[in-house]
Symmetry: C2
Subunit: 404 residues, 2 copies
Amino acid sequence: MADRTIAARRSSRRALIPALALACLSALAGCSTAPAARGTGDLGLIIERATGRAQIVDTTQHQRLATVSGLGDLSHASVVFSRDTRYAYVFGRDGGLTRIDLLSARITHRVVQAGNSIGGAISQDGRIVAAQNYEPGGIRLFDAATLKPLADIPAIGADGRRSKVVGLVDLPGQRFAASLFESGEIWLIDASDPAHPKVDKLAAGKQPYDALVTPDGRHYLAGLYGEDGLARVDLWQDPPAVRKVMSGYGRGETPLPVYKMPHLRGWAIAQGEAWLPAIGRHEVLVADTRDGWKENARVAVAGQPVFVMARPDGRQVWVNFAFPDNDTLQVIDTRSRRVVRTLKPCRGVLHMEFTPKGEEIWFSCRDDNRVEVYRTDTLTPVASLPADNPSGVFFTPRAYRFGM
Amino acid sequence: MADRTIAARRSSRRALIPALALACLSALAGCSTAPAARGTGDLGLIIERATGRAQIVDTTQHQRLATVSGLGDLSHASVVFSRDTRYAYVFGRDGGLTRIDLLSARITHRVVQAGNSIGGAISQDGRIVAAQNYEPGGIRLFDAATLKPLADIPAIGADGRRSKVVGLVDLPGQRFAASLFESGEIWLIDASDPAHPKVDKLAAGKQPYDALVTPDGRHYLAGLYGEDGLARVDLWQDPPAVRKVMSGYGRGETPLPVYKMPHLRGWAIAQGEAWLPAIGRHEVLVADTRDGWKENARVAVAGQPVFVMARPDGRQVWVNFAFPDNDTLQVIDTRSRRVVRTLKPCRGVLHMEFTPKGEEIWFSCRDDNRVEVYRTDTLTPVASLPADNPSGVFFTPRAYRFGM
């Protein structure tokens, strides 16, 4: 009953939000040149991929606060946040790296640092922003306060040629890890002296296409496009070494056509288990992170899974799907390993983001030009925000998490 | 070499900080009535227990920004933060509950809500602040924006009498858990309708004196003063039930005099294991959180441990001690389970707090009137801030964590 009361109250507010959001809500949105004085812990960024813009949103009030344009090509864009959660760093596909002040809704710095780029990371202490580039293949380090270049690390592999770089993440100890696609290597980068980074190079396997780091910063896993299985590095081991795990997880023996290679960053770690999209199959796999990443279970789902995201408490896992099932979201109860709800909320569900304590989830509906907010207990809608072809949704508490 | 360069740079800054910190550094500190526009993700509060004051600090610059006074009796004070990380709620021993605006360094609301109180919590969605009271024994709920009372839950146990309340934590699903000392109960409180909370009551055992919730919000553990062992509730179980675990962990059979009962909130959870202070012994215990909380190991330490805190990546555990060893800190490497460093940084080490990604640790030196900041990789000092009998150190990213 209590739930219904709150849902009703929020629904009535819901109708107001789109209209209000178009007006000027605060010192943000260009109403003033002065930055707004407000907490930055409940802010987020929604990427509007087609127009090179990003919305700044408030996750407490479910409001759009402002829109920032001029961010370049935002297909496959990703975002990291400064450690004070005031600034967002947006990595564009065109190599653009843009620093946005969330309080004044303005671009403070912007560099086009490569020709073709696929994301980045921020160091443990927040002082270094790192970009991973396809063209020219390599990693570049920048001062987080000024975007002044600190170091350029060309990804010249053991084959003597320049590789595309994927799977860049930050690690404890002012380090980064990244993978080289063509040369099949994992690089561990110590950026304690950011002008003179030190690189350890490990042979990973054929064509690593993406990677993740576990939330504790201990295990780096790279998916391999050219062979079955994953390359795993236990960073606590001295010296670190690559082990192959999850044989069968890769493209090599896929019996179904793959509409979209899943992101490894779309894996969930909950209760010591990894929940991950099977490649080309209508299944989510459950692997034991403690015991050699052996498969514990498979859960049948509605389509080819893309992102498999755990609610912060690990009790639920939410799954979205590749075309033609990208109008669907499924919620799995991790205790019973059952799909407990199938939602058809909108067309083109691209990305999901939980509020930090998990009471709500935001997801982008690209083809319906909006972002939806749902409660995670009742699985009912709370708010809907208009957005122009939205893709990624990113909230400031990512500042405190490795690999985010 | 790189490490040494950075350490040297920081050391030179270190000397400047105390002098600067006494001046007025920003729109904070009463220089202006206007709140400062700045990110709130790197702010923290240091309790100055003897004077009823709290310092607002910046963990990026290692600076004191302002001091707020008028907070009442701050012995045993604790702090939670609003979900936008702009406001701190300070629970005083005298029943005072104070809401501080970290941006303007002012008290926005203050109520004296009980005669004798021992802390509080904030709900998953950040809308409800809950206080746990000794006198009169009970739990009170307040609107987080206004401190307007929402509900009063007298802790009248199965014995028909009013108990002291301990171990209050927030849980997923807009719930709280708390323990009743005299009546030996654990209460699970559903605050979905905050004016009409629903309470489930479980028999816990003799005299629960403190409790914790695991970081995933799944397991609630209460320490028992009147018997050996702990009461554990798996909140995923339906209906939840109490199980006794860690027989032998309690006061009942303690062979050594206990100078200070350890806080359960000073436990560390790292890599699926709990690291906890042995009661009355010079040992830290390691228990497996997955397998009935059985003891896996014991690590000999320098004194009676009080707080056992894990660095966010779980690789290190830091331990402080009861008198007469409260001038000592020990660092345990969790992989080898060995003490890797014994520090004697100052007198009266009371409380520790890691920066969110763990590159630094702050700790209070009550008897030397300062707070020290150390790097966690080199285990060397970074900064020192003057403080008047400091006790607790609390950083805003606690806003995103259950039980914090």
